[in-house]
Structures are given as C-alpha cells and as structure tokens.
C-alpha cells in the first residue's frame, strides 16, 4: 500500500470574540493510494474542518495550531501542505487534491456557464490550448453521464437539477485526475434515488478511469459508509475515536460512541423492538372504527407566476386527487422525494394552504370550505410540527411567550394557570423549567425541536401533522426526539400524519405509509406490508436506494433521471418516464392514475398492478 497523504498531530482551532475553540484535537491518520476512506461523525465533530485543513480553505477565523499534512504529489515529491504559501498551495488544489462540496445548489458560480467552470480548472493546471480544454470538458461531462454535454456546457447552474449540478462538481474534481478527491457530504442534500445514482456513478468512475485516486468520503450516513468505503474513521468532538476496516468497525465497534451511533439508527432500533417483542403492543390500540380525518379527492394547484398583466393558465400540480383516511390513534407516514407534494398535502390538510378542490372531514365535520375565522376553533384540535425548529420559532420571543400565546389567544386559561400548565408540558418534552425564560438561539437543534413539539402540544390537539420533524437532526438526537414523540403520542392520545423522506424513520414510527410521487399517492399500506412486499415499482426503487448498514446489499433498482416538472407531469401514470419496467400501455400514457386494493388495506396504483 502506498501512502499518499499523512495527517499527523493536526490541531485546528477557531478564534472568536469569546476566545478560541478547539475544533480538531491532535488527530492523525493516513490515506493509501486508491482507497476509499470514510470520515463519519455528527455535526460539530470536526469532519469538515479536517477536509478544509487539508485543502487550505479554512475560514479566516480558524487557524492550525500544530501538525503536519504530508502529501505525495503527482511528481512523487513529498510536500508538507501546511508549510505552503497560498500561491504554492494553489498548484496542489484542484490538481493533486480536489473537492466535491455538499450543497450542489450554491456551490457553482451562478454567473458562469458550467462549461466555463470546468474549463477553468483544466486551463489552470494543464498547459493545453483552450480548444483542447473544451474538448476535455465535453468528455468529462460525458463521463459523469450528463446527457447532451455540448448543449449542457453552455447552460448556467440554475438550469440544472441538484443531481446534475453535483455531477458537474464531480467532473470539476476529476478534471486533473487528482491523487485525492475529498467528497464532503456530496449526496446529503439530494433525494435517495438521486443519491443512489450518484454513488453508483462515483464507484463506477473509481473502478475505471481514476482507479489510483483515493477518496476521502465525509458523511454522517453510516449506510453509505457501509456501501462505499474500505476504511472508516469515526470522529467525535474533534477527536478520532475509532478507526478500522469498515466491516470490523460496524460488526464489532470498540468505542462506546461508535456503538451508540450505530444503535441509534432507526433500522437498529426497529430490530431491537422486534427482539424485545414489544412490537405487538408498541402503540396504543388503533381504533378501527373511529376515523378522525377523511380526505376525498383533494387537489392543490399553484398558479405559475406569469407577471403583472398576464394571468397564468399553467399550474404547479402539487397535490393530485388524493383520498385517504386516518383512524384514531393511528400514525400515517407520508413518504416521497422532494417535489412529491407531501408537505403541501400536510399543509392543505390543516388548511395552512387552501386546497384547490376536494373535501376534508375532521371528526366528520367538513372543513374544506371553512374560512380562516371558522378554522380558529378547529386549529385547537389540529396542530403542526415544522421541519426547521429554528426558523419556525420567533427569535425575539422567549419560550414562555411562544408557548403561552396560543393558550391566551384561544382564551383557554388564565395567565397564571397557563404558566403552570406550560411548566408541565416543558417537563413532558424533557426540557428544564428554566428554558422558559430563554430564547430560541440559546438551544441546540434537538432542544429546539422539543420546543416545537411543546408548542404543538399546548392546545391539547387530537391530531398533529409533523413535517419532517427529525430530518434536520443528527442521528443520535433524531433517536431521542423520535422516542419522545412516541411517548407523547401515548400520553396525549395523538393521531398523526408523519411526513418524512427518510424511509427508516417512517418504518420505525408509523402504522401505515403512503408513498407519494409527483402529487399522487402511488401506494398505501400498513408499514410491515409496504416494507416487506412493496408492490409499486417506485416504492421498490425507493426502498432499494437507501443505503443500509445491516444485511446484505441487494442489487439496487436504479431509476433514471430526475423527477419531471410538476407543471407538465407525464400523461397517464406519472411515474412512467422513470419506471424501470414499464408496460406498453403504460409507456404510451394510456393508463390513468388510480389506486386499486390488492390486499386488505394495501392499495397500489393501477398502472403498476397491470404492468407487473
């Protein structure tokens, strides 16, 4: 094994007005030629700081206290990166070491064509003519499987989807065939199916044209580590707590933090639950007879902004003809990729958005045509938990004011009664009473979400729509919040719609799942049925796309391309353009959307029932 990068005793700190804070504490590791090394840890563990230290891209307030980073460059010279001037470092950046960043949406210059952005790095490091560089650029775009490269090269980043942009980033990183590519959470901002496409592409490239290139893969997703990496380093609070071959670390974690990290994954918690046989009485009994929420043929369409004078006749078809029932004490999961309409559906149900058509019955009361004023009473019974706990709390109100407001608005209690009541609730969500006087910015992400949950609970609702309540949180915090929600569900006797893009969270938490695609529900079934015998091709692809830590990696069902625009969805079955095995009728768009019951309680879109 040839060692290409050796990090030894690296310490990095951040300087702020409050003193300096150490981000990396004396870490050492090495990367061998051609290997994929994964760097895992939760936010704040120092993964990104490590990569930026290697790249020499630390922000101005960060500095390296001590250590060495030795690189064997392309000419086989050993260089200590930390001793280089910025100009000298520029010869290495993009040439010997390149980087793929997390946010494909903001990582490319919006005012330069993607072609120019790739050509730039080629011309910067290779002494070749512009025409030759352009040719290389087109080849690169082909390599990362961007269709129609000559045309795409002339486009700007905003004209490309997130997945496409990340392909462009990969081609920039590949351009000079570097010794090392640092990939910092390259797929975290993307949907699972797109993530699966990209990871597959990355491995394909790794095994063909750049087989000698090493990859330092930074991620919080243990599933990806299991699938891709040869070796793994686990970081915690700026220190390396465990290092070893992937299989070894996962099967037999030495450090308690690693063990914890793995065990807080929903897939493990699920297993744990099965083992302890709690599964049967895990939830409060779902009352089969009492339907709390009933939706019939619900549509939500947004007009496309067309400007000042012209009324638009195009609409974004966000929610299309959705009918479903939620029984008392049931948790219905809504799962789908971004743009599938799951959040819009959630908001339409509690009428934060006025549905375009269709009926909503809440406790047998048709609320679909209720005005905002009429909704005020109903809203006591229907609440929402939002995804971004920070953005959804007013930064200038302390927690007490935030929580007491709805009680006073609805005139439920006197002020001092309300304060006592809120103290109970804040205790229920696992926060100390003192938090009431503090402001949102003083809490961590997990604590803020607890506040968000408390806010939803103060009115003692019967029904809650939780919109991605744990997606912004780290795995271990996610597990805590999910446990809390599970507990509260029982104590407060809640019925819930739980929206998430994360299938393992859904599997852990819900009783019934509806899979959404382009505004339609394509499959709806009890959790165990959906996960064990999915019927719709999209559900299958979605399930197989999730990288799993446990179990063997089954052959992935990859679906091609991006989600079509909801302004002009495909005719007939909306999934037909990406379906891995479409039938003839289905390809022609001759089959209308509509659910058919294949087993009791298991409904699948008719197109896929006919095709298979």
């Amino acid at each position: 094994m040839v060692e290409i990068l050796n990090v030894s005793n690296l310490s990095t700190a951040f300087q702020s007005d409050y003193g300096s804070k150490q981000a990396l504490k004396n870490i050492s590791f090495k990367i061998n030629e051609g290997e994929v090394l994964a760097l895992v840890g939760e936010s704040g563990s120092g993964k990104t700081v490590t990569s930026l230290s290697i790249m020499g891209l630390l922000p101005n307030n960060a500095y390296i206290q001590e250590g060495n980073i030795n690189l064997i460059d392309k000419k086989n010279n050993q260089v200590n990166i930390l001793k280089l001037t910025d100009d000298k470092h520029n010869l290495i950046r993009g040439n010997d070491i390149s980087m793929v960043f997390q946010e494909p949406m903001t990582c490319l210059n919006p005012t330069m064509t993607i072609g120019d952005q790739i050509v730039e790095v080629i011309l910067n490091h290779k002494k070749i003519s512009k025409t030759k560089a352009v040719k290389e650029m087109i080849d690169l775009l082909g390599l990362v499987e961007i269709p129609d490269p000559t045309q795409r090269a002339r486009e700007y980043p905003h004209q490309l989807s997130g997945g496409m942009r990340q392909r462009v980033m990969i081609s920039i990183a590949l351009a000079c065939t570097p010794k090392l590519i640092i990939a910092d959470e390259p797929t975290s901002a993307l949907d699972v199916t797109i993530q699966a496409q990209l990871l597959q592409l990355l491995m394909k490239l790794k095994n063909s044209i750049v087989s000698k290139t090493s990859i330092l893969f930074i991620t919080h997703d243990l599933g990806i580590v299991r699938e891709l990496a040869d070796r793994v380093i686990v970081m915690y609070h700026g220190e390396i707590v465990e290092e070893g071959q992937v299989k070894e670390v996962f099967d037999n974690p030495k450090h308690s933090y690693t063990r914890n990290l793995i065990q807080s994954l929903p897939e493990f918690k699920l297993e744990e639950r099965k083992l302890t046989k709690k599964d049967d009485n895990k939830q409060t009994k779902v009352d089969d007879n009492e339907i709390i929420l009933k939706i019939e043929n619900l549509f939500k369409e947004f007009p496309v902004e067309k400007g000042f004078f012209k009324e638009s006749n195009e609409t974004v078809k966000a929610v299309q003809n959705i009918s479903l029932n939620v029984k008392k004490n049931e948790v219905l999961g809504l799962v789908g990729e971004s743009g599938s309409g799951k959040s819009t559906l959630g908001k339409s149900i509690i009428k934060l958005l006025q549905p375009s058509r269709g009926q909503i019955y809440f406790n047998n009361e048709n609320i679909s045509e209720y005005s905002n004023k009429q909704m005020i009473k109903i809203r006591q019974k229907m609440q929402m938990i939002f995804q971004d706990p920070f953005a959804s709390l007013n930064p200038r109100k302390n927690i007490l004011d935030t929580l007491i407001e709805p009680i006073l608005v609805h005139n439920l209690m006197k002020k001092n009664e309300a304060i006592n009541y809120i103290k109970e609730i804040i205790n229920d969500v696992g926060l100390p009473i003192e938090s009431l006087r503090r402001f949102p910015h003083e809490f961590s992400g997990g604590q803020r979400q607890r506040i968000g949950i408390a806010r939803a609970l103060v009115l003692k609702p019967e029904f809650i729509v939780a919109d991605e309540p744990v997606s912004a949180l780290d795995v271990s915090i996610q597990a805590q919040v999910l446990n809390l929600l599970e507990k509260l569900k029982k104590t407060y006797n809640l019925t819930m719609i739980f929206i998430s893009h994360d299938l393992s969270v859904i599997e852990f938490f819900c009783d019934k799942v509806a899979v959404m695609y382009l505004g339609h529900i394509v499959e709806i079934a009890p959790v165990s049925k959906l996960f064990n015998s999915p019927k719709h091709s999209y559900t299958r692809a979605l399930l197989s796309a999730v990288p799993k830590v446990k179990g063997k990696n089954k052959e992935k069902i990859l679906i091609k391309g991006d989600i079509p625009s909801p302004i002009n969805p495909p005719s007939g079955c909306v999934f037909r353009t990406r379906c891995p095995n479409p039938g003839i009728d289905c390809k022609g768009g001759n089959i209308e959307m509509g659910l058919i019951e294949v087993e009791p309680g298991h409904w699948v879109d008719q197109c896929c029932v006919n095709c298979n």
């Binding site: 891209l57 390149s98 980087m99 946010e103 919006p110 730039e120 700007y156 905003h158 980033m169």
Partner: protein
C-alpha cells in the same frame, strides 16, 4: 422583451404624474410671474393684462392644465414666459454641457467607487478597509458645493493645475469630481459589503478549491455576482446627477440644464420648469431601464425570469 415593453408603458403615467405635480405646486406657491417678468418696474393694469393674455395666464387654471396636456401630446411643450422661446429649443441648447458633466461624474464615481469597494471588500476589517470607508464616508457626507469650492481653491487657484473656467475636456475635470464624489461614496460602500458577502459564498470556496489565483477569484468569480446592489444604487442615484448638476453648475458657473432650471424656478417660468422636470424624469426612467437591462447581463437567473414573464 415583453418585460421592457411593460416598463415602457409605465413611463407614460409617470411622466403625467410628474407633470401634474409640478403644475400644481407652481400654481399654489405665491408670486405672480407677471410681476417677476416686469422685475418690479411699475406698469399699468392694461400692460399687465396684456402680458397676462399673451402668456395665456388669463384663462382658468383647469383650462391651462388641459391645454398644456393636449399640446404636450403633439410634442409642443410651450414657450418660456421669460424669453418667449419654445422651451424645447432652450433645453436643447443647454443640454450638452450637462450631459458632459453627468458622464464625467458617472465615470469618475463608478470607477473610484468600484475601485475602493474592491480595495476594502477583499480584506474586510483591515487598515485599508477602514481607510477606504472613511474616504467613502467623506464623499457621501461632504456637501458638493463645499467640495466644489475647495477643489477650485486647491487645484485651481493655489496649485493652478487645472483651469477653473473655460471649455473643453480639462475644464470638466473638477466639476466631474464634484459630482462623482457623492456617487463614489455610495458605490464604494455598497460594492464593499456586497463583495464581502459574495466572497463568503459556497461557490467562491469551490473556485478556491480549484487552485485559482485570488485575483481571478475576485475579478472573474466575485465581481459580477457582487454588482447587482451597486448597479441598483446607481439607478436610484441618477436623480442625483440632476440635483448635483444644479449645484455644481452654479459653483463652477457652467451653463447647463441645472442653471436653466434654477433660473426658471426663480422666475416662476412655469412652462420651462415643467418641460425640464418632464425631460429629467424621462431621462431618469430611461437610465433606469438601462439598469434593468444590465441586471439581465449580470445575472443569467434574472434573464430567465424575464423570458418566462
């Protein structure tokens, strides 16, 4: 292009409102144009009545208002009370010096504004940042008549580097600086803050990860992205070119629209004031149209929105 047609359609009501406001104000404020014309000389009622009739001032206010409008649509903006010349001719005669001054001020202002903006923004919170921003603050806060006089005193009288009066390019330097300094101040501050913002963006980090030199990062990757706010400010500040011209032309005793406007207001020469205001409004709108157009050149995302709209 739909976008620009819409913008052009807005010009007409804007001009109409500007016109009306000027008409109403000039008719409300006290003072009789006839008296001003006679310059305080005694005159019989008959003469006064005659002058009044000649100027069309005997007609009721409303009729004067509508007849102006009707004539204006035919392209006739009326005749000056004072000189009896068509106002359009007077504007044409005085236009060139003001245009020269404005362009000079604009070039000076944009150049120095962007220069100091980059100088400061590429190294925020440094000595050179503070230095540049103090200069910018001076540019904004020092009144232009004072700057004009100081420039005349230092460079004209004491050092004798540039002529104070006269024609041609050299005589344009000091007035241009006077007009441009105010521009430069605002431009510098906004370019700085916008550049600081852009330099913290993810795509700049991407550019750095490619190993590109810092000059290229500023010039090729940052500047264009940072230009939207300064260009917007430029559009807003075009109005200042006009007020700037009024003061600067007075200080440097240059002929031009500013001088003309000042005299017209003092003489209550309603048709001339109206024509000047309408003319300046039109120029202002036109320049802002160019600014809108520039947005599209700067940022392809704005181009896209327009093509959709």
């Amino acid at each position: 292009m739909n976008f620009f047609i819409k913008k052009l359609l807005i010009v007409i009501p804007t001009l109409y409102i500007a016109w009306t406001v000027v008409f109403v104000t000039l008719n409300i404020i006290p003072g009789d144009p006839v008296n001003l014309m006679l310059g305080g000389r005694p005159a019989s009622d008959e003469v006064r009545e005659n002058v009044r009739k000649n100027l069309g001032l005997d007609k009721p206010v409303f009729e004067r208002y509508t007849s102006f409008l009707i004539n204006a649509t035919k392209g006739d903006l009326g005749k000056s009370y004072l000189t009896r010349q068509p106002v359009t001719t007077m504007i044409k005669e005085n236009m060139m010096p003001t245009i020269e001054l404005s362009i000079g001020g604009l070039i000076f202002g944009v150049f120095f504004g962007v220069f100091f903006g980059i100088f400061a923004g590429t190294k925020p919170n440094s000595m050179r940042d503070t230095f540049s921003m103090i200069i910018a603050l001076c540019g904004i806060s020092l009144p232009s008549f004072w700057i004009g006089m100081m420039l005349i005193y230092i460079f004209g009288t004491t050092l004798g580097w540039v002529p104070i009066v006269g024609e041609g390019f050299v005589s344009l330097i000091l007035p241009s600086i006077t007009v441009g300094l105010f521009f430069a101040g605002g431009m510098a501050r906004l370019t700085r803050s916008s550049l600081v913002d852009v330099l913290n963006q993810d795509y700049i980090r991407t550019a750095r990860s490619k190993g590109i030199s810092k000059y290229r990062i500023v010039l090729r990757h940052s500047l264009r992205n940072a230009m939207i706010p300064p260009v917007t400010l430029l559009g807003i500040q075009f109005g200042l070119l006009i007020t700037g011209a009024v003061i600067t032309e007075e200080v440097f005793a240059r002929p031009g629209l500013g001088q003309l406007l000042l005299q017209a207001i003092l003489a209550k020469d309603i048709p001339l004031v109206q024509a000047l205001v309408v003319y300046m409004t039109a120029v202002y709108i036109f320049l802002n149209l160019i600014v809108d157009f520039t947005y599209g050149i700067i940022d392809p995302r704005i181009r896209l929105e327009r093509n959709r709209g």
